[in-house]
Structure formats: C-alpha cells, structure tokens
C-alpha cells in the first residue's frame, strides 16, 4: 500500500505548503501593515513638522499599503485639507466614512471639508449623524452653526455658535460667522461681547481682517455705533480697512450724517486710498451739502480711478444736468457710450439729457436704443413713458406704463408713475379707484416707496379720511424725510383737523425744504443755460 502513503505525503506537503503560503502571506500582510503603519506614523510627524507634501506622500503610501484602514484615509484627508486640496480631501474622508461609517470623528471631519467646499446639505447630514450619536459634541455643534450661517439660517446659526462661544472666539472666521449671524437675526444686543473680544485681539495675526469684516457686516446691518467702534479697532495697515471705511461712510451718509461720512472719506484719501467707490460717495456727500464743484471733482477722480466702470458716470452726468451744464454732461455721456457701446445705461442717460433739454424725439430714440440693448432695463421704458407724460401726451404715457407693468411686473415705479399720470389728468376723479389700486400694488412691491405712500395719503386726504392720510404720509416721510410736498400735505392735514401749531411746524419744514429744492442747485428749466 505504497500509493496511500504517497497521497498522504502529498496532502501533508500541500497542507504544509498552504500553511507556509498562508504564513508567508500573513507575514507579508503583517509586514505591509507594519509598513503602512510606519508610513502613517512618519506622515503624521512630517505633517506636524509642516512638511505637508512629504506627509501626503507617506499617507498615500499608507493607504496604498493598507487600503482597508479607514484611519489612514482620514489622516490623508486631513493632510490634503491642510494643503488646501479640498476635493481630494473630501474623497479621502468619504472613503474613510465608507470604511468606518459609525466613526463620528471621520464624519465630523468630512463635514468640515464639505463646509469648506460649500456642500452645506451634505455637511449638515453628517453633523446631524454625529450629534445624534454624541449630543452636544462641541466641534460638531460649532460646525453646524457655521453651516447654518452659510445657509442663511441666522437665528439657528447664532444659537449654535453662541453656545460654543469659547470655541468660536478662538478663531477669526468663526467669530465673524457668529457676528454675522447675530446681526442678520437682529440680536444686536449680543454684539458687545464680540466687540470686546475683537478689541483684545486687534493686533493678533489674522484678526484685523476679521474686525474689518465685522465692521462691514455691522454697517450693512445699519448698526452705526458698532460699526464705528469696530472701525476704530482696525489697524491702519490692514488691507481691507478702506473697504470697511467706505461701507461705514455709506451708512453714515444714508442716515444723514453726511459731514461725518465726508470726514471719514477724506481721512481715507489722506491715507492714500484710491477708490472709485470712495470718490463716488464723497461726491454724493458734496452734492448733498450743495457743493457741486467739489462733487464734480470727486466724480472725476472716481472716473480716473476706474475709467471703464460705467456706473461711475451716472452721478456726475446727473449733477452736470442739474447745474445747467448740459454740454459737459453730454460729453460725459458720449464718453460712457464710447467705452461701453453695448451698455444700455449710457443710452438711458443720454435719453434723460435729451428729455431735460426738451428734445423729445432724441430722448425717445436713446431710450429705445437702450431698451434694444438690454430688454431688462426698465429705466429705458420708464424714460419713454416719461417723455410722453412731459410732452403732455398722457394717453401715450399711460399705455407705456401699462406695457412696463406687464414686462416688469415687480417694478413698483411703473405702477406709481401710471397712477400719478391718471391723477394728473383732468378726469382724475373718475380714475381715482384705478390709481389707488396701482398705488397699493406699488406699496406692496416696495413698502419703502415714499411716493406710493404719499399719493395714497393724498387720496385719503381728499376723501376726508384723516387718520389714514396721516399714516400714509408718516410712512412716506419715514422713507424720505426730505420731501417738501409730504410736509406740505401734513400741514394741510393738521390745519384741517384744527392742529394749528403742528400745521405751522410742518409748513416751516416744507418751506425750508422747498427753498433748498428750488434754490440749491436749481437752474432755468426748459434747456436753459446759466449766463
């Protein structure tokens, strides 16, 4: 029985071979695993030493050697993130999560990269998973707050970030996110503590730009005092300081603190800031202060700063027209057309100029061309309608306004202008209902429309509905306190209701504003030039 023994021997040899192979394999695997671990360890230490490229190489080898180890994928993702290779980092982290789906750290880090890449929904999903497993996890709460801030859910974001205040204020970006969320959710009373933090950190690296951003956020949220406090903290050498300053000045200008705005802008100029936005705002300040020459100089500097920027031409053109320098205005308009021949706006300005000079045919031609260049330009259509109105062709004006309402259904100006034309007509008594409907629509589209509320107030006043009239006029004045006619209307209202002192007061305001309107930069009308 010799072959039985041979079979057994073969089996023994095969088994031993298999075992040997297995042992070899295991040994090899162990060697690979060890090598991968070594690469990982080396990569981490290189990363800590700041040698990110080499660290990445090591971790790439680690993941290559041990592809099933989620940790190495995560480590690689981190290093790629440090290198700013966000997409690759995301791929790596996603692989780590795939390999270890219940690992909340991996999920958190993945969410962080997703936040970085703007994939907020995905980030939010991962964070909600983490927080479900580990409620109150500070990092996740913080990151979820950042995600909500990006998604515009400011109240939620503010709550989440504020709950991790210490973590937030350890980094500028997080601090800005909290600040932004508080401003946008109207929680201005909570800003003080952030301002205090920023004050302490004003000279720390990375923080001046955060202070600058917070200044801009406060300004855009109309929190003037906070914006001023923060602006004062921005070091002079912070590159974004001018932007913050201009935004602050814009807010000051908008709330009527024109001389403060002007002062700030001039300081920035002194500090060497060259900016078209700055000069344009400075020009607006001079105009408001009835200093047209200085305004024009500022506007010219704005144009010099950015010669191809078309919107820089609008204010100086309007000012030149107002001071009766139509020829200069025309020159600027033509210049704007030359630099931007396919831009509708200069053609609208040309139309405005022609209208001012009573050259109605030319005005219509310019507005029409503007409309052809840009069908979305509502000003062009409004301009055509205005020509008809000024020329006394009310029916044509109304037709044009109605066409404008169809084409631009959300532009309140068409409704207002149409209503005004109806009310100016000899048959206005029959057209009041229609005019009122249009004005209510306009007020709905633009609740801040001073004109819509003013006209509604007039209608109410004519009907003897004094309370309603008062409310409408008040709302109108809230939007534009410098309307002489609204103050006049209030004086009429008060006089009719027996409030003589109030009537007198409003009339005095009306007289002052009217004088400024007519005398400030008024010039002969009907295309007349000053001698």
């Amino acid at each position: 029985m010799a072959h039985t023994g041979s079979l057994q021997r073969i089996r023994r040899i095969g088994g031993q071979w298999l075992i040997a192979v297995l042992l070899t394999l295991l040994s090899n695997q162990s060697v690979r695993a060890q090598k991968a671990q070594d690469h990982s360890a080396l990569g981490i230490s290189l990363a800590k030493a700041g040698k990110l490229a080499e660290a990445e190489s090591e971790l790439q080898q680690a993941t290559h050697g041990a592809p099933g180890v989620a940790l190495y994928r995560a480590q690689l993702g981190s290093i790629l993130g440090l290198e700013g290779k966000w997409n690759e980092a995301l791929a790596s982290f996603q692989k780590a999560v795939e390999l270890a789906p219940t690992n909340i750290s991996f999920r958190r880090e993945t969410a962080a990269v997703q936040w970085q890449l703007g994939l907020m929904s995905s980030a939010e999903k991962n964070l909600r998973y983490v927080l479900a497993k580990s409620p109150g996890d500070p990092g996740s709460v913080l990151l979820l707050g950042m995600v909500n801030e990006k998604l515009g859910r400011y109240e939620t974001a503010a709550g989440l970030l504020d709950s991790q205040f210490d973590l937030v204020i350890s980094q500028p970006d997080r601090t800005v996110a909290l600040f932004h969320s508080l401003v946008r959710s109207g929680q201005l009373s909570k800003l003080a503590k952030i301002v205090d933090v920023l004050r302490l950190r004003r000279n720390d690296p990375g923080w001046p730009s955060a202070i600058s951003r917070c200044t801009q956020i406060a300004a855009s949220g109309s929190d003037l005092e906070t914006a001023k406090s923060l602006f004062a903290l921005i070091p002079l050498n912070e590159p974004t300081r001018p932007t913050a300053g201009i935004q602050l000045a814009t807010l000051q200008y908008n709330v009527g603190q024109v001389s403060d705005a002007k002062e700030l802008l001039l300081q920035l100029v002194e500090q060497g800031v060259v900016s078209a936005d700055l000069q344009l705002l400075l020009g607006n300040c001079y105009e408001t202060e009835r200093q047209p020459s200085l305004a024009l100089q500022a506007y010219r500097r704005a144009i010099e700063a950015e010669p191809t920027r078309v919107d820089s031409y609008q204010d100086p053109i309007a000012l030149l027209v107002n001071v009766g320098k139509s020829s200069d205005a025309l020159e600027l308009v033509n210049h704007a057309i030359r630099i931007a021949p396919d831009d509708a706006r200069p053609w609208v300005w040309k139309g405005n100029l022609s209208l001012r000079k009573n050259e109605y045919k030319d005005a219509i031609a310019s507005y029409t061309h503007a409309s052809e260049l840009d069908r979305s330009n509502a000003d062009a259509i409004l301009g055509i309608a205005t020509v008809h109105f000024v020329a006394g062709q009310n029916a044509a004006a109304i037709n044009q306004y109605r066409a404008g309402m169809v084409r631009f259904p959300n532009d309140a100006r068409f409704y207002i202008a149409c209503a005004e034309t109806l009310l100016a007509s000899p048959d206005s008594l029959k057209l009041q209902r229609e005019a009122e409907d249009l004005l209510r629509k306009a007020a709905k589209l633009n609740p801040q429309s001073a004109e819509a509320h003013y006209q509604l107030g007039q209608l109410a006043l004519q009907r003897g509905l004094f309370k309603e009239a008062a409310a409408e006029f008040a709302q109108s004045l809230q939007s534009d306190p410098n309307q002489s006619k609204a103050h006049f209307a209030m004086s009429v209202l008060y006089r009719r209701t027996g409030r003589a002192d109030d009537a007198r007061h409003e009339f005095e305001i009306y007289q002052r504003l009217k004088q400024a309107e007519e005398g400030g930069m008024a010039t002969p009308t009907k295309g007349e030039e000053k001698p």
Partner: protein, 583 residues
Amino acid sequence: MKPYCILRGDSGVGFSLPSSSDWSRREFLGAMSAAGIAQFLYPRMASIEATAKPLFSDVTQEAGITWRQFNGASPDRYLIETMGGGVALFDFDNDGWLDIFLLNGGETPRGRSERPLQNALYRNLGNGKFVDVATEAGLHPVKNYGMGVAVADFDNDGHEDIFVTGFPNCTLYHNNGNGTFTDVTADAGLQNHGRWASGAAWFDYDRDGFLDLVVCNYAELSFEGAAPKCETLNVRTYCEQRLYKGMPLTIYHNNRNGTFTDVSRSSGLDLLVGRALGVVAIDFDDDGWPDLFVARDASPNLLLLNRHDGTFADAGLDAEIAFDRNGNARAGMGVDAGDVNGDGRPDVVVTNFNFEFHSLFLNRRAFPFDDWTRPSHLAGATRPNVGWGTHFLDYDNDGLLDLMIVNGHIVEVIEQLHPQVKFKEQPLLLHNSGNSEFEDVSSKAGSAFSRGYLARGLSIGDWDNDGSPDAIFTCIGDRPVLLRNNVGRQNSWIGIGLVGARSNRDAIGAKLTLRTADRKLVRWVTGGGSYLSSHDKRVLFGLGNLPSSHRVEIEIVWPNGTTQMATSLEINRYHRITEQAAK
C-alpha cells in the same frame, strides 16, 4: 336802446330816450320780434337771425378799432415784453356809453418803435363805432412801459379817473370832466417808483367813502446791464418767472384830498413778497368789509381778509388756494370773483400755465375753499392753455354766471415741445350749465374763438347797452379784439348802476341781491378783476325767461354797510340807483 330809468333817492324819475337814428338794424328787428311781427312777416329772416348768429361777433374792424399794442420785443427778451395789455371799458364822458381805454406797452433798449407810441381812448359813438380821442384827452403819451389799467372815481367828483401801472412808474390821470385828463401822479403820491407794477384795484378798505388803491408789483426788473439769457430748443426765449425776484404789494390810503399815503408797511402787505399779477377786491367772508384775492405767478396766491383796522390777514393757507396739493405755487395770472353756484358767496377763478389747469375755488362758509377745477370741467377745458384775462359774465342772461378766458403762450417754440399746446391760443367761453359745472361752448362763440392770439387783458362791459355783456381783449403786439354779445338779449335782464353818496361814488364793494320766485342772485361791484383790466361797473342780472312785465326788487348793501331796498324795478332796462341819504 331801452329807455334808461334814473331813480334818485327822492323818488324823482327822469327818462332819456334816444332818437330813432340811434337805432341799429339789429335793434329794429329786435323790436319787431318783440312785437310779434317779425316771425309772421319775415319768418325766414327771424329764423336766420336765430340760428346763424354766433354767440359773439368780432366787430373790431367795423367799430373802427385800429390801434395796435407795441411791446418792445427785442433780442434781449425782457419778460415785461410779453406781459402787458391793459384795457378798460368805462364811460369817461358820462354820456351813457362805455368807452375803451387801451394802454400801450413800451420800448426796451433794443426794442424801439419807428413811430411815437400812443395809448388809445376810443370814444363810443353809440352806433357801434368808436373814435380815438386819446390825444385830445391828454392820455396819448406813453410815459412808462405800460402794464395795467384801474378805473374809478377816486375823488368822488362824478368822473371816472384812470390809474395806469407799469415800469418804472405808475400814473394817475384825473378826469377833468370836460373830455380831458390831467396827470396828477406826483401830487397824489402814486408813482410807485422803481417798481414793475402789474394789476391794480380800487377798493375802500377802511369804508370811509373814498377809494383806496392796491397795486400788484411783479418782480425786480432793470433795463440796465444784460438781460438773463434763456433758451428753449436753442432759441432765445423769455426766461422762467422764477428767475425774477418777486416784490411786495403796494397799498395806498386815499387821504380824501387828492393825495394818497403809502400804507404798505402799516397794513402788513409789504411783508408779502411774491410775483403779483391779478387782483380782485370783494367781500369774501361777508362781513361787510372788502377783501382781496391776489393771483401770483409761481408765488403763493393770497387771500387777504380785511381785519377792519387797516391791516389784512392772509388766509391763503386756510382757504387752500395758495398752492396746489403738492405745495407748488402755480402761475397765477388773472383772477375774478363771482357767485358761480348761487349760494350767495363769491367764488374765485384763477388762470394758470399750460398743464396746470385754470383753477376754480368754491367759497364755502368755512375754510377751506373747495378746489372745483376738475368737477367743474374747467380742468379739461383749460389743460393746454396759458390763461390771462378772465371774467365771470352771464352772457346768455340765464341767471348763471358763465366764464370767459383769454389765453396765449410766451414761448415761441412751444408747439415743438408740446404739440397740443399752441403759441397763439384761442379764447374760451364756458357756459355755466348748473351744479357748478361748465361746458365749453367756444365752438359756438364766434370766429374770434376759433383763432389763436397772444391775448392778455380782458375787459367785460355792455358797450352797446343792450343788456348783454360784451367784451374786449388785448393782444401782445397786435390789435385788440372787440366782441359784441349777440344772445344775451334773448333772455330777460336788469342792469343796475349804483351811485354812492356816503359810500364811494362808484359803489365799489356793494353787494346786490335779487330774489325771484325760484332763485336768489347775488352780484357785487368789484374792484379790479381779470388781468390788468378794468370793467363796466354796472351790474347785470340775467333773468332767463322772466316776462317783461315782471317787476323785481333788489337789496343793496352799500360799501359803508347800510342796506337799501330798490323795489318794483322794471326789467330789461338799466336803472341808476343812488345811495339814500342818512336818516
């Protein structure tokens, strides 16, 4: 002509009948018609008469009016060149017929006349013809740039005197009673020196029986140096009025001795600075004291209520007549007052610029006045017009006051800007259809209403004494237009000429109330009114189809406050009523 019945306080009666040669063909046919003959014998002729005649006829040529206004038009375009045009209908020689005084403009530095400039005084010959007697009367010389005319008997001597406004001085001509006038400006103290005066009105503000005078001053003006230069569509035009700085009113108190005292300061009127043009004096608040409404150009209109102490309070804001609803002062030029809606209170019309609408304000018992411009349809009728002279008149004698307005632009190239606005504009005749509404009947009013003019002054008066109000209006740089009313006499009427005894002789400020079975008609003898013009002071009441046999009574409230009843008055004739002596 109807017999003219003169009533005196002692009930003495006298008559004055014209000779048959005074009768016109029209009057002959009218008499035949009244006798019921014309329709039977001349049915076709009667019907032609009834249907072919326009409401008014332009009789300028046949009347012999050849005078032309000279406005000194120049390349400098001084605004005054386009603003003049004073005219008056008044009886300067007390012959019972209204005569016409036409005030010339004047020269400007570069607007010279080839011939000497003259005013015109057209004497009414009573037969539809007029002859210019200005030279004989001493009214011919143009001493200043002429603007307006205000006629009244300032010294109560029974003869109508003439006050002429202008730049740089005003002039007072005293009627000597013999067909001549004397310039008494210096003695009277009425030069208003250095000012550009426009409208003026005689009225007795202190009710002392002597007429005082309010003078509107328009703006600062000088022919020295360069005129402001303005252009429209590259054509030199008259500058907007806002470039001219306004002036205060001047008010003179009549000292009863041929002199006047400037009481502008003590009256408070010197504080009211603006560009005043038209003025009418009437008792707005029915307290027996005359008030003033002043139309001002791009300045707030004034409603000056007499405070009985030599001062006035401006109630323009309370009355809501000063501004439009947006607080803009419109271009108020002409103004008149009369009871449009039959409630016994004087309402007001003011002429404005194109697209502003001429305004109609209804006087309610309490402030504010009602802006009735749109409900009356005046807005629709006047939208494209620049209005000047305006006057209420009951042209068809139906008892409701109608309205005549004359228009004319100032910008030669206006039609290139606004096709529906004309440079030369047509006058308007608006018929009061009741309920305070007006209907534009200009298309039926005659050829004069279908032609365009640069019209300015408008004077209303019954110059042919047929009981229906006629008119004359002036035109810049052109002949005036004399209109004869063809329809008023188809209805019944009564005319009253008042003679004050304790009140001012012209009875300016008197209020007359006539009651019939179904209505009450209230009229006033006003001072001023229209634009730069002076009117027939007799008061006409239209009585509709009241039978000729009917008698009426009229209550007269004299300017000094006393009341007098004139009873059993025959209609379809004029009556002269003298103020009763104190009892």
